[in-house]
Amino acid sequence: MAAADDLKFQEFDDAANLLAANPDATTISIDEPVEIPKNQHGRLQEPGREEDDELLGTDDSDKTELLAGQKKSAPFWTFEYYQTFFDVDTYQVLDRIKGSVFPVPGKNFVRLYIRSNPDLYGPFWICATLVFTIAVSGNLSNFFIHLGKPTYHYVPEFRKVSIAATTIYAYAWLVPLALWGFLMWRNSKVMNIVSYSFLEIVCVYGYSLFVYIPTAILWIIPQKVVRWVLMMFSLCLSGSVLVMTFWPAVRDDNRRIALATVGAIVLLHALLAVGCLAYFFDAPELDFPAPIIPVHNGTTVVTKSQ
């Protein structure tokens, strides 16, 4: 038995546990050499995997990480470099979307679905779809709300498309940039087990916006209560994906900073949802539109809310 035990592969304990047992031990973090700085992965800083990774099977993670390490080696001015960001198949994209809509508690979206193969297809096209869905649904909902009014004249409101596009693309790209910068800065002060590359953060944000697409379509229903319930529901779903992704990255930090970071993530996400609902969708009337001549003076009828 002793011989068999000696021959068995020894699993290294989690680095956090090792450090907790021996706080004064010197630590070395070995990073693989990368040409492009933004592709750094905290690969070798996690010798013992996170608890959720054990459920994935270590061989698969090993193989994908090794393969991913050899992947992005084209210089950035060639077309092949950008092709590495679109190296996904249909079923992979669908799996990632499914993972963002049905978040499993305890499972990290990045580790489970992205697995060192972040893609730009999902974030870009989900944002594009969301832009047009919000614009079209807003237009439709305004049309149905104001349908009975005698002075209403339908307008396509095409300007709102460009406003929606600016907002959503700015959110999906600038917030991950800020978050990545912040995490890098904290990483230099506190050794974190988990760190994400910029593309992985963009990926998580992009896929987490997917649940807003059916929500925007359902927001056509002109009931205030229904709209707010829908918004809370979708906010919980996509917010939980984000929280479960970023909590392992900040939990080793100062307690207040960790909570503030996660709170800021959720707050920005909620702001996006509330802002879109308020700007693109007119408030539904509380009473049914009466066919009789409106009692109040004409100015309040003509001025629409947007």
């Binding site: 096209w125 047009f132 237009n139 307008v155 300007r159």
Partner: protein
């Protein structure tokens, strides 16, 4: 099998190595066996289009015909043309001559005579090419004429006419109206460029301008829908006219998407087809939405 006009370059040695290897782009399609690589006809993967195009068609055809001959020969025992092992045809040297494929007359005489022809012939030739492509779009079969001889005249005409018909819908204030000319123009061209880039990044083998050409030509059904919508709106703008417009726009949207998918989906790797078709769907959906929501003054 020595075609006239063939000028082989003399390379020694390395070509023997190629004899046993399958070409890197071999996908193992219908047959299962990689094509026999002959020493004087090393395989090149025909994914890019060097100029002139007809050279590559001819070259691949020569290799294929020679391949069939050699396959028959090897079944009889031993390759037929082993003595020419150190001779190969480089693709840098244009090989001219006509064997069989009628890719269009490219003999030297006719190239010069287009200079002397009347202007009417020149214009009619281009117009006929554009017209033929319109017919291809309306009845999409899997022909390669649209892909091979791409041109951007048709998309330009369609885009300009659609933008002219769409611009300046009614508006209470400046901000609320329909799309302006520049907006429609930018959406169509920028959208087509983005979709082309997307399909190329996902590993598609179609060239940039071919894809732009196909996407532009497939706007034709939607332009027809816009014409019909404007005519229906002249008659009135009630519920009935809206339903007619809705049906027409939905039908033309489906036609556009199917037509462009028929041309573009084949050039994609099979496990990514849906990823390429979805942006095309979104593109034509946006254009259809702009057409459907057009309201006149």
């Amino acid at each position: 099998m020595g075609p006239g006009g063939c000028r082989p370059s003399h390379r020694s040695g390395p070509d023997r190595r190629h004899a046993a290897r399958a070409p890197p782009c071999w996908r193992g399609g219908a047959g299962g066996q990689p094509p026999l690589a002959l020493p004087w006809a090393p395989w090149r993967c025909v994914t890019r289009q060097p100029a002139p195009r007809v050279v590559m068609t001819y070259f691949v055809h020569v290799a294929r015909v020679a391949n069939m001959a050699a396959a028959e020969g090897s079944s009889a025992g031993g390759p037929l043309f082993a003595g020419l092992a150190d001779v190969s045809i480089s693709e840098d040297i244009p090989v001219e001559g006509e064997i069989t494929v009628p890719v269009g007359s490219h003999s030297p005489d006719e190239d010069y005579s287009t200079l002397d022809e009347p202007v009417r012939d020149t214009i009619m030739r281009d117009l006929k090419a554009v017209g033929k492509k319109f017919v291809h779009v309306m009845y999409p079969k899997k022909s390669s004429a649209l892909l091979r001889d791409w041109d951007l005249w048709g998309p330009l005409v369609l885009c300009v006419s659609l933008a002219l018909m769409l611009q300046g819908g009614s508006a209470d204030s400046k901000d609320d109206g329909g799309p302006q000319f520049a907006e429609v123009f930018v959406i169509i061209w920028f959208g087509a460029v983005v979709i082309t880039l997307n399909s190329k990044l996902l590993g598609g083998t179609i060239s940039f301008f071919q894809s732009l050409c196909v996407l532009g030509y497939c706007v034709l059904p939607l332009t027809v829908a816009m014409l019909v919508c404007r005519l229906v709106l002249l008659a009135g703008s009630g519920t009935v006219s809206f339903i007619i417009r809705l049906i027409v726009v939905v039908a033309m949207f489906g036609w556009s998407t199917l037509a462009s998918t028929a041309f573009l989906a084949d050039s994609q790797p099979p496990n990514r087809k849906a990823l390429v078709v979805y942006p095309i769907f979104l593109f034509y959906f946006v254009i259809s939405w702009m057409i459907l929501t057009f309201t006149p003054q």
